[in-house]
């Protein structure tokens, strides 16, 4: 049972600049080989949770002040990003963050930084296998590529590091629906074929819950709900507040004040 767990967040609190508390006791579990999605509205603390795991809080003057983060049974909280990435946790940042002045292939090669000097040809082939769109543009400068290509690029760059746990922050942000579908299919394939454990932060709850095995809902720096993805999809509250449809399936009207009360009840 124990060794089935890839990542365990145990009641962690995160404070920025010693004063601003963003996470207030978040606990969650990610099992090996699973896709776990983390839902929630803006400012709920989803990105901060990911950054606490990947160590990227440090450069932003944030700190895990309480609780523990265990990765494969060993504590990793407040380690530097250099150490954490070398253990196999890679975060794909929100908003794409490509290297503008590097070509597509050079961008991908930066993904080998955690194992400098080791061969990477096979990984390049693998990435081009999952993202064929990148192959034809591999000599192009990333700054001139489209949003969809860039999202594929940054995900491929993450895969180049051979991650055991890949943290994806809003992969659907600003993409056309058809591209979102494609990206999510690829995420599912990566999970099934490579066995990579994935943690997915999304605003697009509908898509996220379709491919995820398990889901957590965050509000105000706390986990307010957790369940199997299927159960979450059927939950009337989640349906109403995150999937945009009321229990009956029809769009809800703002006139209905009751929903506000119900929301208050579990926040």
């Amino acid at each position: 049972m124990e060794n089935n767990i890839r990542l365990l967040l145990n009641n962690i609190s995160v404070v920025y600049s010693d004063v601003i508390q963003v996470l207030k006791g978040v606990s969650l579990t990610v099992k090996k080989g699973q896709i776990v999605s983390l839902l929630g509205s803006n400012g709920a603390g989803k990105t901060t949770t990911l950054k606490a795991i990947s160590g990227l809080l440090k450069p932003e003057n944030g700190k895990v002040t309480d609780g523990s983060i265990e990765y494969d049974g060993a504590p990793v909280q407040n380690s530097s990003p250099e150490e954490i990435t070398r253990k196999g946790i890679i975060q794909v940042l929100e908003g794409r963050q490509e290297f503008k002045y590097l070509t597509i292939e050079e961008n991908l090669r930066v993904g080998t930084a955690t194992r400098w000097g080791k061969p990477y040809k096979k990984d390049l082939e693998l990435v081009y296998h999952y993202f064929p769109a990148l192959l034809s543009r591999k000599k192009n400068m990333a700054g001139y590529c489209s949003g969809g290509e860039l999202q594929m690029l940054v995900m491929g760059r993450g895969l180049m590091a051979q991650p055991k746990l890949l943290l994806l922050d809003e992969p659907s942000l600003g993409l056309a629906p058809i591209l979102v579908k494609e990206i999510f299919q690829i995420i599912r394939r990566v999970n099934e074929e490579l066995g990579t454990t994935l943690m997915l932060v999304e605003q697009n709850a509908n898509m996220a819950l379709q491919i995820a095995h398990y889901g957590y809902v965050m509000e105000n720096g706390k986990i307010v709900m957790e369940s199997d993805a299927n159960d979450l999809r059927e939950n009337p509250d989640v349906k109403e507040f995150y999937l945009g449809t009321a229990a009956s399936g029809a769009l809800k009207s703002y006139k209905d004040v009751k929903s506000y009360k119900r929301r208050k009840r579990w926040l």
Binding site: S54, N61, V92, Q97, L102, V110, G111, W116, R157
Partner: protein, 292 residues
């Protein structure tokens, strides 16, 4: 005509020296966006280190040269480790101010140890290296600097374009948070860029020392000349630094030869302003890619 050709040759040789000394500057700017005001002092330190090892300690030239390069490489590491690392994450202007401070400190130290006099290396370049072509002559020191310069430029070109470490260094310059998220060792990249920069500086410092003699004031003011060179070529372009250097070198010698020697120092800046009016990123600088 002969006068013109001689000026041309002199200009290119001089320009090549500027280009070589600008390389180290571009190196640091490319990886960490820091303008290094201590550039001239790094040149001077390299030149004096070589002076101590070759003329005073009387080591064989090759050994002295190798030790100078190793010494400056380590010096770059030390500067990064003890001074700049503490400022990672602070505003860029503070880091730049630190380099101004470093420049004053190093200059003071050099003046304290060696004084303000001109020192000379002993003669060691073989006379056979100089080229005479009719009435036009290229002194051996320029030929040597040309060879060393070309060698290092090709080396750097390959390093940045193809080697993994070179690509990591460029990625840090491009988007530091993203590089960090992929596990690029950002501090190591900074240290390496300072070390390489100090090494290149030492090399050009030695060549300048052979030509003009080794003098603290002279060398540190030549360090300031990298500014028109790199701004002209584009701050982040190695190729641009070379072209920029040659243009500035040619401008200086031609102004000196045909117009007046007192205008020598001014004309390059005037041309610089004119070029920047047309190409604000310099001749070869990266144009900011913006999404709209």
């Amino acid at each position: 005509m002969e006068f013109f050709l001689q000026l041309l040759v002199n200009g290119i040789s001089l320009g090549f020296l500027y280009a070589l000394s600008a390389l180290g500057f571009v190196m640091i700017f490319k990886s960490s966006s820091v303008l290094n005001f201590a550039h001239g002092e790094l040149l001077a330190i390299g030149a004096f280190l070589f002076l101590v090892l070759s003329s005073w300690a009387n080591l064989p030239i090759i050994v002295a040269f190798a030790f100078t390069l190793i010494g400056s490489f380590s010096l770059g590491f030390i500067i990064e480790r003890f001074f700049l690392r503490r400022l990672i994450g602070e505003a860029l202007i503070e880091v730049i101010m630190l380099t101004v401070g470093l420049s004053i400190m190093f200059k003071g130290l050099l003046l304290f140890i060696f004084g303000g006099d001109i020192h000379n290396y002993r003669q060691f370049l073989p006379e056979g290296l100089s080229i005479t072509w009719g009435s036009i002559g290229i002194p051996s020191v320029y030929v040597a600097s040309f060879i060393i310069g070309i060698l290092f430029l090709i080396l750097f070109g390959f390093f940045f374009k193809y080697s993994s470490q070179g690509i990591y260094m460029r990625s840090v310059a491009d988007n530091q948070p993203a590089a960090l998220s992929l596990g690029v060792h950002v501090r190591r990249v900074f240290a390496l860029s300072w070390a390489i920069a100090a090494l290149v500086c030492a090399m050009s410092g030695i060549v300048l020392g052979i030509i003009n003699g080794v003098n603290v004031h002279e060398l540190s003011s030549i360090g300031l000349k990298v500014f028109p060179v790199v701004i002209l070529g584009g701050l982040d372009s190695i190729g641009g630094a070379i072209i920029g250097g040659i243009i500035i070198g040619l401008l200086e010698t031609f102004t000196g030869g045909y117009i007046s020697t007192s205008l020598r120092e001014v004309i390059p800046y005037i041309v610089l302003v004119l070029i920047l009016m047309v190409k604000p990123y310099g001749l070869f600088g990266l144009v900011e890619i913006e999404r709209v």
